[in-house]
């Protein structure tokens, strides 16, 4: 595996490895464009981005990326159906106003989607809540309850249930702990992050 992809945040590295060269990709909440730049440079992916923060967009454009400043909660509506091979929503689902509707949009715009999110059922989170009786502040969830952008915490089991309810197919799933991919056994206890590849 090449060096650029290895330097990516672990969930992004998982996603990047799955995207075939030459694909069309929309990175929703693309931040400073780290994933898009890697995809463009390493596998000639036609990557577009949507990002709410003006300074991040400025960074992206100065890196030569095509990124639109906008709010994923409203601006995805302006993308045509099937415009992309993959829609990517990394570490953002839990910040959206309606994660269920967001999934619909991802799979309307993209033939497939990658979704990564922090797992609220990780044992450290459970311990913080059960033993200390406090909302957990961990490295993955580094906010206090009053200033967190994560307004819809979810667990791996919750996500599975929503996908079932919607009839969304899981192509593949990866569970991450300490930046490493771990096995599926007990993932809802052991995984800090999950990555799902889903399709209609």
């Amino acid at each position: 595996m090449n060096a650029t992809l290895t330097r990516l945040r672990p969930d992004l590295a998982v996603i990047a490895r799955q995207i075939p060269a030459g694909s069309r990709v929309l990175d929703i909440g693309c931040g400073d464009g780290e994933l898009m730049a890697a995809l463009r440079d390493e596998s000639q992916v036609d990557a577009r981005g949507l990002e709410i923060d003006a300074q991040n967009v400025e960074l992206c454009v100065s890196r030569g990326l095509s990124v639109i400043q906008g709010d994923a909660n409203v601006d995805l509506a302006f993308y045509p159906d099937d415009a992309f091979d993959y829609a990517i929503l990394s570490q953002t689902l839990q910040t959206t106003q309606r994660p269920d509707l967001m999934l619909d949009e991802l799979l309307r715009i993209g033939r497939q989607a990658f979704v990564s999110f922090p797992n609220f059922a990780h044992w450290r989170v459970r311990v913080a809540l059960a033993w200390r009786g406090r909302m957990p502040v961990t490295r993955q969830l580094a906010y206090s309850w009053y200033d967190t952008p994560n307004i819809h915490h979810l667990t791996i089991a919750d996500f599975h249930a929503l996908l079932d309810q919607k009839g969304v197919k899981v192509q593949r799933q990866w569970f991450l702990s300490g930046g490493q991919v771990i096995g599926a056994a007990g993932a809802n206890w052991r995984a800090q992050n999950a990555v799902f590849q889903i399709s209609r």
């Binding site: 036609d46 003006a54 967009v57 400025e58 639109i68 400043q69 906008g70 302006f78 993308y79």
Partner: protein, 374 residues
């Protein structure tokens, strides 16, 4: 200092054939005045067309021959600047309808008298049609980029929609694909101010001692307010009083002198504008802008027009620009998205209102530099 001003004298292209216009007429003997900066490379693929705004001209990066001021985008265009004339061949034409050397209402018609109001009403696309002929004459088939702010952005978008094979990058700053009612309204105020001036004389003032300077100055004053933000007006002028002509500190005159600094400033802006701009040109150019509706021009299917281009787009708005507000840029971006065009969009924060695109906004420099290097 190595300066782009080295070739300050405008060049002029005289068109051999009549220029067909959207209004159905053909304009004979068209001249296009333009300035160039930098060098066209052997592959002829490093050219950037910079389109000027309503009252701009071809002196984008060289001293203005009338005002003596630096080029209107001197901070953006030049060696080592975001539009780097060490790398790019920059072309800036005066629009037709203008008054700095390109054919406009003050030009001589075939009868040896100025056109005045006999000049045909032109559109943004007519201006761009002239630019395209200029590019052909320079042997340029594709542009590295077309760039413009405000009315310049309209020209950039018109080029992309109507001549999709020419630009490889399209940068529209503080602009719109459709002139909104509020903008049409302000420009109508300006035109009415000019035409209400008795010295306008139905447009036939060229042989008179004075033209409609008062009307043109009022038009400029009204327009100038729309280019600024309330924030910048307040911080620059507030309610401060203007020193009296005899040097005494400002005081309310209980009359109608320019008591406030903002009044004095606007009067100065209005008057100095009349020394460099033709009133009839102002009528024709603002008319062209009010007719600008790219969507209507393409039968309501603007996305189809943009789908034919391979160009990358970059759309920039400013948070304090209430004349061309972010929402208009966003609409354009949605159309480009629907066309699957590679488009970037950012709303930059700057205090100067619509004029932000001309002023010191470092984030704008970074975005322009990055976009041109894509």
């Amino acid at each position: 200092m190595a300066s782009a001003a080295s070739n300050a004298a405008s060049e002029v292209l005289e068109l051999a054939d009549p220029l067909p216009l959207d209004g159905g007429q053909r304009l004979d003997g068209v001249r296009i005045a333009y300035n160039t900066y930098g060098t066209l490379n052997d592959a002829r693929d490093n050219a950037i067309l910079v389109a000027h705004a309503t009252t701009g001209d071809q002196y984008v990066a060289s001293q203005h021959p009338i005002t003596g001021k630096p080029g209107w985008w001197d901070r953006m265009v030049g060696p080592g600047k975001p539009i780097d004339t060490d790398r790019f061949f920059v072309i800036c034409p005066n629009v037709i309808g203008g008054c700095m050397g390109s054919t406009g209402p003050s030009s001589m018609a075939s009868d040896g008298k100025p056109y005045a109001m006999r000049f045909p009403v032109i559109t943004i696309r007519d201006m761009v049609r002239a630019h395209v002929i200029l590019l052909e004459s320079l042997g340029i088939e594709t542009l590295h980029a077309v760039i413009g702010g405000s009315m310049g952005g309209m020209q950039a978008l018109s080029l992309a929609a109507n001549w999709p094979h020419i630009p490889r990058r399209v940068l529209a700053i503080a602009s719109t694909a459709t002139m909104a009612a509020q903008n049409i309204a302000f420009q109508e105020v300006g035109r009415q101010a000019i035409m209400a001036d008795p010295a306008w004389a139905g447009g036939n003032y060229y042989d008179n001692d004075t033209g409609p300077d008062s009307g043109l100055a009022v038009a400029r004053m009204a327009a100038h307010i729309t280019y600024l933000s309330e924030e910048s007006l307040t911080s620059k002028f507030g309610r401060r009083l203007q020193d009296r002509p005899d040097g005494k500190p400002g005081a309310k005159s209980f009359g109608f002198d320019a008591d406030f600094q903002i009044e004095s400033y606007l009067r100065h802006q209005g008057l100095s504008f009349t020394t460099r701009f033709d009133a009839n040109s102002y009528l024709y150019i603002t008319r062209a802008m009010s007719y600008f509706d790219l969507d209507e021009e393409h039968g309501g299917k603007l996305a189809d027009a943009f789908a034919r281009t391979q160009a990358r787009f970059c759309v920039i708005s400013f948070d304090t620009d209430w004349l061309y507000p972010t929402e208009q840029s966003r609409k354009l971006v949605h159309v480009l998205n629907a066309a699957n065009a590679p488009v970037s969009f950012v709303e930059l924060s700057a205090p100067f209102g619509h004029d932000s695109f001309l002023l010191d906004v470092p984030a704008l420099d970074r975005v322009v530099t990055g976009f041109l290097n894509q």
